[in-house]
Amino acid sequence: MKQKQNAVVLSQKEIATDIYDMWIGTSLAADAKPGQFLCVYPKDKSTLLPRPISICEADAEKGAVRIVYRIAGAGTREFSGYQAGDSISILGTLGNGFPVEEGRGKRVFLIGGGIGIPPLLELAKHLKGETQVILGYRNSALFLQEDLEKHGVIYVATEDGSVGSKGNVMDAIRDNGLEADVIFACGPMPMLRAVKAYAAEHRIKAYISLEERMACGVGACLGCVARTKETDHHSHVHNARICTDGPVFEADVVEI
């Protein structure tokens, strides 16, 4: 069930420049699925709208959810100042999440670019196959690769070439001669377009997590739509709601 609640910050630390890692104590952990997200509300009333942030890990037993996010503006800057014991206003759990069954036991690419990497961690924990994790960063300020190492083989690409392949995640796939039966990806739009093209070329399925500016987060405002190839069940005008019908879509269903 979706719920807005005042939760509590359990811990927070900066794990790379402007990238923060926060554990939140919340009953929402029990329902959280890989690829879902939370809306986090700033306390400053000049910044009204929720910030959609993907769930990086969920621990149902401890009742805790982990988010890893980048400071992108006033709202996330406020969150970055929260300390253990502070309250945090959240709404969740939102979105459809990754279709874990599609990847279980298969040769899988988990492709993450920058701040698109966090949702892959909870997904990686649920896949019990040959998981290959391809991570793209700007530079040597890596994050989450140590967590992901426990659940798959890591391949890194950096834009400046300081770690792994020089270039992007597609360069890392080529350089290492990697192959997969199915792809799960989250990252910037140019990366997702490349993933979609790669999947089409290799005739494999790809599930991509999209991002868009949101207002309500629950499917009412129609702010965050993605163009779909076919007429979708809700809008009837080829506009699926990223917050509710997504954020994860089969790559060939959306026109990006």
Binding site: L48, R213, V218, L222, C224, S235
Partner: protein, 301 residues
């Protein structure tokens, strides 16, 4: 304590409704609030055929509010009648359907279709959306055009008609009088104020549509002022809206002359806002020993 209000002959259990476009047809928010508790659900605008809306980004945050340029995306009247109306019929809340169109004929077509549905208590005519190129706001920024479309809609409407006015005009009183003279039964205001936001780092417009409608608490004083001016200009009831977040905000609108209020952008900030506003109005009535909520309408001194 009596919170009931009558709006153009329609009895509402309390004066709190939802602002069109911020609440869908209630489905999404029914996970958070009991729709039975609302005075009315005002639906997202519906047109005669499906409208795709504008490209993204469609929303942006601004200080104390937001901009939207959704562009009235909607699945059209056919889907609306088959899916949304049956859903809303399950609840004991009045149904007010917001209608948008590009031409007078577009509006009339939807008005006639809804005339077949007795569960719809009232029609709200959107002549004030700043985000679509044709129709809509063109009818709402000129008193003669507003008079024209209002009289056409009234000719074909089986339910009471509420015209939703734009704040993007010089004299709101003149617009309200034109709507009243054309025979409309109620007025709702205000729609959003046209705004713009520029990303200085990319030197680009934040919204794909360049401009968007501003809503949220930052516009509330403007809305209160316009409700006050319109209430002094006409005798028909007014539904006030613009940044209402609390019961106190709603009371301010009632005192300014609104017979009912709508909750808009704040639904996005707190999905429980509608219920909290209803309870806030009741708290105020208890505190100040107000017997009937109607005693508050226009009671500013």
């Amino acid at each position: 304590m009596n919170t009931q209000v009558t709006l153009a002959g329609v009895k509402l259990k309390n004066p709190v409704m939802t602002a069109s476009g911020t609440f869908g047809s209630g489905m999404e928010y029914s996970e958070f609030v009991d729709l039975n508790r609302l005075g009315a659900v005002v639906t997202k605008g519906v047109s005669n055929v499906p409208w795709p809306g504008n490209p993204t980004p469609r929303v942006a945050e601004v200080y104390g509010g937001m901009l939207n340029a959704i562009g009235l995306q909607n699945p059209g009247i056919d889907v609306f009648m088959e899916r949304d109306i049956p859903f809303l019929k399950q609840y004991d809340s009045k149904i007010i359907v917001n209608i948008c169109g590009k031409t007078v004929e577009d509006y009339v077509e939807v008005v006639e279709r809804l005339g077949e549905e007795p569960a719809v208590s009232m029609l709200e005519i959107n002549v004030s959306c700043p985000n679509v190129k044709e129709g809509a706001i063109a009818f709402g920024q000129n008193a003669e055009a507003l008079y024209g479309i209002t009289s056409e809609v009234k000719k074909h409407a089986k339910q009471p008609v509420m015209m939703k006015l734009s704040p993007n005009v010089t004299d709101i009183g003149e617009m309200a009088r034109a709507a009243e003279a054309a025979g409309c039964d109620a007025i709702s205001l205000m729609n959003t104020i046209t705004g713009m936001k520029i990303d200085i780092h990319k030197r680009r417009f934040v919204l794909a549509n360049k401009t968007g409608g501003m809503s949220g608490p930052a516009i509330k004083p403007i809305a209160v002022r316009m409700v006050y001016q319109a209430a002094r200009a006409v005798k028909i009831p007014i539904v006030g809206m613009g940044g209402i977040a609390t019961g106190e905000d709603a009371i301010e609108f009632l005192l300014a002359g609104a017979a009912a209020v709508s909750i808009g952008a704040m639904n996005f900030v707190n999905p429980y806002t509608t219920i909290e506003v209803i309870e806030g109005i009741e708290d105020y009535m208890r505190k100040y020993h107000v017997e009937n909520v109607t005693d508050l309408i226009g009671a500013v001194e």
